[in-house]
Symmetry: C2
């Protein structure tokens, strides 16, 4: 059952205390698709400019990522530049050049409207909603967002909330959305507002999952070195949704396993800049780390 | 096999965003002893002034905490006042009046020198070392410290390190001690310097355990409300050492279980001011939460 993601494909420049990379592949749809592609067929809805390097298109193709919905518009690709201090949980944006992304009107090709798994990456809730409306009864809809949309498009965002199976957001956003400083209260409040479940991402501190029936807390996989946290959240989502698209049943139990797969995928993503590490690992590497995670969290 | 703790017994005044308490029972030896007393006999080495309320002595007695080594000196009890903002991980000290604690020379009564489990709570490493020297072959020695001692008495602290089975410290202290920003590298480096194992406490974000043979990561028990984090670290240590004093064997496996018990005890401690919540729970409450913790971390 194939996966559809709508989000950004971007050219990122990133500096962390451990190095820097100019103009490399980034974007929420990119990280999500590569992570999910370990489990299943993924199709992306996104836009790039005519300056988008062919080698990145080749990378998508090599991973069997469907680019039928990746429009090439005349103009420049979305570009982002950010810096991280030693506190790798917070990115400081140097610039965001939306370029062709400014006029992005996501159109789902007819052949993809029946995709069973839909991930609405962090873009304008109006665009997320327009994609949701084009779909024909997806089996699972998950969504990410950010402080900017929660603040400026709250009504539209809350409309989407009611249609969601899983909302993913970080701890600060969960607090912002609900006005609750306790994450447990925030999680309960979010689930009361619509989504069947919420996953609160705490970066290096792990994840909290809450549904009406159960909850789950998981630490992040412990790493010796983190080089670049860019894309970790979308990679996490790709691992989670990718795993769920393969699971026999979607319930709290398979979501918990999916969350661990998401954490494992994210742990690889942050070990190098851009999608470098993600592109070189195999499913066996993922399985090894998944088993190791089980070992180091068992008591 | 009984437990001995050397540390402070104090009168704390604490303010958090959720309330405040003036002049209530505090101190590292207090929190540690109450937590460990759920598992075994604990004796404390500490000093209080002649102003120390009798009701607190009664509380120790009621929990069978041995106070043979609790000296009552003429003068005032150690007093601390602190404030927490919404970031409950950091205490801002308003004042520290050492009072009778200034001349504290811990003397271990002869009958307690063969205690098998020794916890050196966060006090001057010179005092910690003097206690260590008075003991006759303890089975397990654990120690806590703080940034001030690591900075100002590093040599003495490193001497103690070599004698430890378990060092407990928080994430900032682990980074300070080793100069490593990666906690995994810091943990490895600490274990290379002497202690058989290290437990890095990350407050609401859980715990990292490292020994030469294995490692373990655990989230903190998720709470709806945290009222006052004071004493959480010492309570954690009390749960850990208390459990270990009952375990058939001391190895990485029992230490992991002990860490979870420590987390559970700490989760109760922070649910009210001072030792209020800790004093009202039963072993059954602890077991319930321990089991629940297993449930919400399993995948």
């Amino acid at each position: 059952m194939s996966i559809l993601v709508v989000g950004s494909v971007a050219i990122d420049s990133v500096k962390t205390p451990f190095g820097k990379r100019e103009a490399s592949l980034g974007g929420s749809a990119t990280y999500f698709s590569i992570a999910a592609s370990f489990f299943n067929k993924v199709n992306m809805i996104a836009v790039v400019g005519d300056d988008f390097p062919k080698r990145y298109i080749d990378l998508f193709r090599k991973r069997s990522i469907g680019i039928e919905g990746l429009r090439v518009a005349s103009g420049k690709t979305f570009r982002w530049k950010g810096v991280y201090d030693y506190d790798l949980n917070t990115a400081h944006t140097i610039y965001t050049h939306l370029n062709v992304f400014k006029d992005f009107k996501p159109a789902v090709p007819p052949g993809l409207r029946r995709s069973k798994f839909l991930f609405l990456a962090n873009i304008d809730p109006d665009l997320q909603y327009s994609v949701l409306k084009q779909m024909e009864r997806p089996k699972l809809v998950a969504c990410d967002s950010m402080n900017y949309w929660i603040e400026n498009k709250r009504r539209q965002f809350e409309k989407i909330l009611k249609r969601l199976d899983i909302l993913l957001l970080n701890d600060a956003e969960a607090r912002q959305l609900t006005g609750e400083s306790s994450l447990m209260r925030a999680a309960k409040e979010i689930v009361a507002r619509g989504p069947k479940a919420v996953v609160i991402k705490k970066g290096e501190h792990g994840v909290i999952f809450f549904s009406k029936r159960s909850h789950f807390i998981a630490p992040a996989y412990l790493l010796e070195d983190v080089y670049d946290p860019t894309g970790a959240g979308d990679t996490f989502a790709g691992g989670l949704i990718g795993y769920l698209s393969r699971a026999r049943r979607i319930n709290d139990s398979s979501i918990k396993k999916g969350i661990v797969y998401g954490s494992i995928l994210a742990s690889f993503a942050v070990e190098d800049f851009s999608v470098n590490r993600l592109s070189e690992i195999s499913l066996a590497d993922i399985m090894d780390r998944y088993r190791h995670f089980g070992k180091i969290t068992k008591f």
